[in-house]
Symmetry: C2
Subunit: 240 residues, 2 copies
DNA sequence: ACGATTCAGTACGTCAGCGCACACTGGGAA
DNA sequence: TTCCCAGTGTGCGCTGACGTACTGAATCGT
């Protein structure tokens, strides 16, 4: 993966901060590379930092006693990992793993908390993001109940595409299945249909999206709801 | 419904505030009765107030284009309705309806926002609650994917029981079905099993829980996760 | 007191997704 | 080049939940 050199502004939350605010944080923002599969946080584990992805994608999921699991939300360059640090609980039952290798900026927890408690623009941006995250998780809950695997796969692909600059994602069917909390065979079947429709191409751990509009034709409304909510919440964020 | 005269402290969030803080708010807290089925907020609608239930229970649910829906979380005396007012989005895609008639205290939105922005104990309590709500929604998402209707019914009953002082709830199977986002017949079947096991008794819109421990024997882990997370987050809240 | 209405129970056939088993194959490691 | 195996494609039978339709009974309004 030859990523271009990351810019602070690639992360939408950092980009939403007033220049002076960002400038003040810059010296504390540490750039790190996150390898695929890295576990950033286990259930109940404490995060030492908060992470602002630029090219990496982090998956938030819950794991059940019997070992099965589901992603409840993803975190890419539109967001951040570690809201529990400023929300007050310090940790949560969530697992956070690296779904797509790439870069993040990170900030030490205590420092972020201190900044958050100033109540300035950073606080407003982080709270807005948390609000958007709640929508994403809620929509996932409804989607899990009512929509087919194929629809959910499309949703997941579109959300992931939006976080990448590429049309190709490195991702096995097994991995996607564990994200969505379904069988690997279920993904094989759904992906097969999309492949026949020439919407995607699958090649041993590499998915290439040939026709983004095609995906949008198969996706459930959940994608749009989440997308629009993020736009709504961050469209005018600078005004505050 | 002859509820006992509500006390501020019946709502756990109000109870978690330092006495001085609560005292200051008291004159603005308006007690209102909420009838069953009342719609407090439609998708994208703006709330004029935030609500702190004492005996009422509010259901948060998402409605899909095809009309089907699912509850993503419930709000009883452990919580509040209206987090979007201080999180910054002002509204969300959520619907809020009264699931169990009863009393709430409410506070005008702008006033709450002003208090929240002081950054004091109220802010900390509200953010902690939001964090707990996220856990509840996330667990619902996973539960929707992996657990049977019967398990989910038990979870829902237990969560509802915890918010009431009574062992009897006024609730048709149809209504429960729409909460869980399943068919009414699915609830009939699951409730039938629980009834045969003498765990509950069903009588035209009235459920009586005969054996709470029995419910806990049939419930999935999701109930405990949510319960414990609330306890953890509010156990030491006074310290802050 | 009685009819209307709402609610619970039952019985189909159908289907999406599951669990399991196994066969194939592309591509990296030696 | 060859081997090996992770990743993918299939084919079962099974089951939980769905859609639909209908019955019976309890409660409410008049």
């Amino acid at each position: 993966m030859q990523s271009p050199p990351p810019q602070f502004s690639q992360n939408h939350l950092l980009a939403a901060l007033p220049p002076a605010e960002l400038e003040r944080l810059k010296s504390h923002l540490e750039l790190i590379h996150m390898p695929l599969g890295d576990v950033l946080c286990e259930s109940g584990g404490r995060l030492s930092h908060v992470y602002f992805p630029t090219s990496a994608i982090i998956s938030l999921h819950y794991i059940l006693e019997n070992g099965s699991s589901s992603e409840v939300a993803g975190v890419g360059n539109e967001g951040m990992l570690g809201i529990s640090l400023f929300m007050g609980g310090e940790n949560t039952p969530v697992w956070a793993t690296v779904q797509t290798a790439g870069y993040c900026y990170r900030l030490k927890g205590p420092l972020l908390l201190q900044e958050f408690n100033q109540g300035g623009p950073l606080q407003r941006v982080l709270l807005r993001y948390t609000q958007a995250l709640i929508t994403q998780i809620s929509q996932t809950a409804v989607c899990n109940r009512h929509h087919t695997i194929e629809q959910q796969l499309c949703r997941w692909l579109l959300l992931t595409l939006d976080r990448l600059n590429s049309q190709e994602l490195v991702m096995t069917q097994e991995l996607i299945a564990s994200m969505l909390g379904v069988r690997r065979e279920g993904i094989t079947e759904a992906a097969g249909k999309l492949q026949q429709a020439e919407i995607i191409r699958y090649r041993r751990g590499h998915i290439t999206v040939l026709n983004r509009a095609g995906l949008q034709g198969h996706v459930c409304e959940c994608y749009d709801v989440v997308k629009k909510e993020f736009e709504r919440l961050f469209h005018d964020v600078k005004k505050f």
